[in-house]
C-alpha cells in the first residue's frame, strides 16, 4: 500500500513539473508569436510607405517631366509615326 502511494506521489510530482514546463513553453511561444505579429504589423506599415513612395516616384506628371526635361524626349510628329497592321495569323 505504501509502495503504491509512493509511486502515485512520484507520478503526481512528475505531472506537476510537466504542467509547469508546458505553461512556460506556452508563454515563451506566445511571446514569440507576439513579436512576430508586431514585426508583421511593422512590415505592413513599411509596405504601405514604400507603396506610397513608389506611387510618388511613378507619378505620370513626374515621368512626363523627367522624360521631357532630363532625357530630352518628345512626342513624335504624326508624320514620323508609321503604324503597321499585323496579319490575323500573328494575332493582334
Amino acid at each position: 500500500m505504501a509502495k503504491l502511494n509512493l509511486l502515485l506521489l512520484a507520478v503526481l510530482v512528475a505531472c506537476a513539473l510537466g504542467l509547469v514546463s508546458a505553461q512556460h513553453q506556452a508563454r515563451k511561444l506566445y511571446a514569440e508569436r507576439e513579436q512576430a505579429q508586431t514585426l508583421a504589423r511593422e512590415l505592413d506599415v513599411e509596405y504601405g510607405r514604400l507603396q506610397l513612395e513608389a506611387g510618388t516616384w511613378s507619378l505620370p506628371a513626374r515621368i512626363t517631366q523627367t522624360a521631357a526635361g532630363k532625357l530630352g524626349m518628345q512626342m513624335p510628329e504624326p508624320r514620323r509615326v508609321r503604324s503597321i497592321q499585323l496579319d490575323a495569323a500573328g494575332g493582334r
Binding site: R27, E34, V45, Q51, L52, G55, L59, P60, R79, Q85
Partner: protein
C-alpha cells in the same frame, strides 16, 4: 523528573486550557467562514477585481482600405502616424524641457504653454496630431513625464490635385468627408477588433484570455479611373482654363464599351494632402454636381429623334429663314445665316433655327421621352455624393418656343457626365451604356435607344461637324477620325442669360470607325482668346483624346498626316 511535577509550580486550573482551546476553535471557525464567504458569495466581484489588475482589453485598429486606380496605382493610402498628447496634471517639465518639446514639435513655446493651460484640470490634451514618425521619436527621446504618444492613421493622396474631387478626403479621425472616401466609407473603414490579454508588470503581453476579435481591415476600392489619362486630362484642362482665363472647367473621359469613367477632372483643384486653404469652388466635382444649359451639344439628340421617327434624313433640306426666326415674340438667330440647309449642315454649322424647326416637327412627348431615356433629368446613380439630376420639365408644360429652344439645349439643364453618357448611344450603335466609377472591364450591355442605322447616320454628321467648314475643326487629331459637337451657351444668371458670360463645351468620340472613348469638356466663363466651344473646349478635347488613344494603343483609322488647322476661328462661330 518531569517538568509538570516540579513542586515549585502551581497547578493551573483545567478550565483555562479549555478556554484557550475554545478560542482557538472559534478562530478557525471565523477564518473558515470568512473564506467560505469570499469563495462562495463574493467570488465574482473578487475575480473581476483581480482581472482588472492584470487583464487588459487591447484595441486592434483596422487599417482603412486603399483607393486604387484601374491599374493598381494607389490614389489614397493610409500610413500610421503618431499623435502627441499630454496629461497636464502629471506633466513635470521645467521651462528648458518645454522649450525642447516645443522645438521638436515645431511650434512656438507660447503656443505649447497655451495648450497646456487650456487643458489644465483635464487629463488629456492633444499637443499635436499626426506627426511624422521621426518627430515622434524626437519627442519620445525627451522622456518628459506626462507626455505620451499614440498611433493614428493618416491618409495620403500621392496623385494629389489631379484626382482630388473624385477620391475626396478623410477628416482627422479617418472618416470620409468628400468624394469616394465618403461614398464608400463603410467598405473602406473596416471594423476594429479587440482582445483581452494578461499583461505583466512591464506591460508585455503574457497571454490571451477569452475570445480574440480580430480587426477586419477595410477593403480596397478599385476605381475605373486611369491615373495616366486622368493626369493628362487634368493638365490639358488646366492649360485650357489658364489660356482663356476661365473661372473653372471640367472634363470626363468614358470608355465606350465598358461605360467606365477613365478620367474625371476639375479645375480649380486643391491638394488633398494639405487642406489648409480650401474653398467650396475647389471641392466641387463639377462634372457630377453642377448642372448647366448644354447649348448646341444637345442638338444631335433632337436630330437623332427626327431620323429615328422618319421625319427627316441627313439630306432633308430645312428652311432656315435667312438666319432669323421669330416664334411668339422670341427671335432665334443663327451665327451662319442661310436660306436653307440640309440636316447634316444644321449640325455641322450648328444652326439653331434648323434644330428648332426639326424639334417643332416632332411630338413633344417623344422628345421628352428620349431625353429621359438617355438619363437627363435624373441623377446618374454612380453612388457619388451630391450627383445632380439636372432639370427636365414634363412635356405637358412645354410651350412651342420652349420645345424649339430645348432642341439646342436651352431651358434644360444637365451635368457633364449626363451629357457624356447620352453620347454613348451614338458611339455604340444606338445602345446607351451604363456608367460607373468602379473598375468593371468588359462589355457592359445597356438599353437600346436608337436603331444602328440612325446612330451611324448621326455619327457621320458629327464627324462632319469637326471637318473644315464645321464648328469644331480644332477637335481633330492626326491619325484618328474624330466626331463631336461644340457648344457655346450663355450662362444663366438670376434667371436671365448673361450677355457676356459663356459656357464653352465640346463632346465627342474617337476613333469614328470603332469608337473607343468619349470625351466631354466644359469650360466656365472663358474671358480671353475667344469663347466659342470650337475654340476653347475643342483643343482641350483634342489634346486629351490624342494622348488617351495613344496610351491605350488604339489602332489608327486615318492617315497620320499633320492636319492643317484653320487659322481663324470664323467657322467656330455659333450662338449656342
Amino acid at each position: 523528573m518531569s517538568f509538570a511535577a516540579t513542586p515549585m509550580l502551581v497547578r493551573l486550573p483545567v478550565w483555562r486550557a479549555r478556554v484557550v482551546l475554545v478560542l482557538l476553535l472559534l478562530g478557525f471557525v471565523a477564518v473558515g467562514g470568512r473564506s467560505g464567504y469570499l469563495q462562495g458569495v463574493r467570488t465574482a466581484f473578487l475575480k473581476e477585481e483581480g482581472e482588472a489588475r492584470y487583464a487588459r482589453l487591447i484595441e486592434a485598429p483596422a487599417t482603412r482600405g486603399r483607393i486604387l486606380d484601374r491599374n493598381g496605382e494607389p490614389l489614397a493610402i493610409s500610413t500610421p502616424v503618431k499623435s502627441v498628447w499630454a496629461m497636464p496634471e502629471e506633466l513635470e517639465a521645467d521651462r528648458r524641457q518645454r522649450a525642447a518639446l516645443a522645438r521638436a514639435l515645431a511650434m512656438p513655446l507660447e503656443a505649447l504653454d497655451r495648450k497646456l493651460a487650456e487643458g489644465a484640470g483635464r487629463d488629456f490634451v492633444y499637443l499635436k496630431r499626426q506627426v511624422p514618425p521621426e518627430i515622434a521619436q524626437r519627442v519620445a527621446a525627451l522622456k518628459i513625464p506626462g507626455v505620451f504618444e499614440h498611433r493614428e492613421y493618416r491618409r495620403y493622396y500621392p496623385v494629389g490635385a489631379v484626382t482630388a474631387q473624385v477620391v475626396g478626403f478623410t477628416g482627422v479621425d479617418d472618416v470620409g468627408q468628400e468624394g469616394m472616401e465618403l461614398a464608400y466609407q463603410s467598405r473602406l473603414a473596416g471594423t476594429a477588433g479587440s482582445r483581452r490579454v494578461i499583461k505583466d508588470r512591464h506591460g508585455g503581453v503574457v497571454e490571451d484570455i477569452g475570445a480574440v476579435q480580430p480587426a477586419q481591415d477595410g477593403a480596397d476600392l478599385v476605381l475605373s479611373i486611369d491615373s495616366k489619362i486622368q493626369t493628362l486630362a487634368y493638365h490639358a484642362l488646366l492649360d485650357g482654363v489658364r489660356k482663356h482665363r476661365a473661372r473653372a472647367g471640367a472634363a470626363i473621359v468614358l470608355d465606350v464599351a465598358s461605360g467606365e469613367i477613365l478620367a474625371l477632372v476639375n479645375v480649380p483643384s486643391y491638394n488633398p494632402n494639405n487642406r489648409a486653404k480650401l474653398a467650396g469652388a475647389q471641392l466641387r466635382n463639377r462634372a457630377l454636381t453642377d448642372v448647366f444649359e448644354p447649348g448646341s451639344t444637345l442638338k444631335p439628340l433632337t436630330i437623332a429623334l427626327a431620323l429615328e421617327t422618319g421625319k427627316a434624313t441627313p439630306r432633308t433640306m430645312i428652311d432656315t429663314e435667312g438666319g432669323q426666326l421669330t416664334i411668339a415674340n422670341y427671335t432665334i438667330r443663327d451665327a451662319h445665316p442661310a436660306r436653307a440647309m440640309s440636316v447634316t449642315k444644321v449640325l455641322q454649322v450648328s444652326s439653331n433655327i434648323g434644330a428648332a424647326k426639326i424639334a417643332l416637327s416632332l411630338p413633344s412627348e417623344a422628345m421628352w421621352d428620349l431625353y429621359r431615356r438617355v438619363g437627363l433629368g435624373h441623377p446618374p446613380e454612380l453612388g457619388f455624393p451630391g450627383e445632380a439630376a439636372g432639370r427636365l420639365r414634363h412635356y405637358s408644360t412645354w410651350r412651342p418656343i420652349e420645345q424649339a429652344t430645348m432642341a439646342y439645349g436651352h431651358g434644360i439643364s444637365v451635368s457633364l457626365v449626363q451629357l457624356a453618357r447620352a453620347y454613348t448611344m451614338f458611339a455604340r450603335d444606338g445602345e446607351l451604356a451604363p456608367i460607373t466609377l468602379l473598375r468593371n472591364p468588359g462589355y457592359a450591355s445597356g438599353q437600346k435607344i436608337l436603331s444602328t442605322q440612325t446612330a451611324r447616320a448621326v455619327r457621320a454628321m458629327l464627324e462632319s461637324a469637326v471637318q473644315p467648314g464645321g464648328t469644331g475643326p480644332l477637335a481633330r487629331i492626326a491619325g484618328w477620325r474624330v466626331a463631336g459637337k461644340t457648344g457655346t451657351a450663355h450662362k444663366l444668371e438670376n434667371g436671365s442669360y448673361a450677355p457676356d458670360k459663356y459656357l464653352s463645351s465640346f463632346v465627342g468620340f474617337a476613333p469614328v470607325s470603332a469608337p473607343r472613348l468619349i470625351t466631354a469638356v466644359v469650360i466656365d466663363e472663358p474671358s480671353t482668346g475667344g469663347y466659342y466651344g470650337g475654340v476653347v473646349a475643342a483643343p482641350v478635347f483634342a489634346k486629351v483624346m490624342r494622348g488617351a488613344l495613344r496610351m491605350l494603343g488604339v489602332p489608327l483609322d486615318a492617315p497620320a498626316e499633320p492636319l492643317e488647322l484653320p487659322s481663324e476661328s470664323e467657322h467656330a462661330r455659333e450662338s449656342t
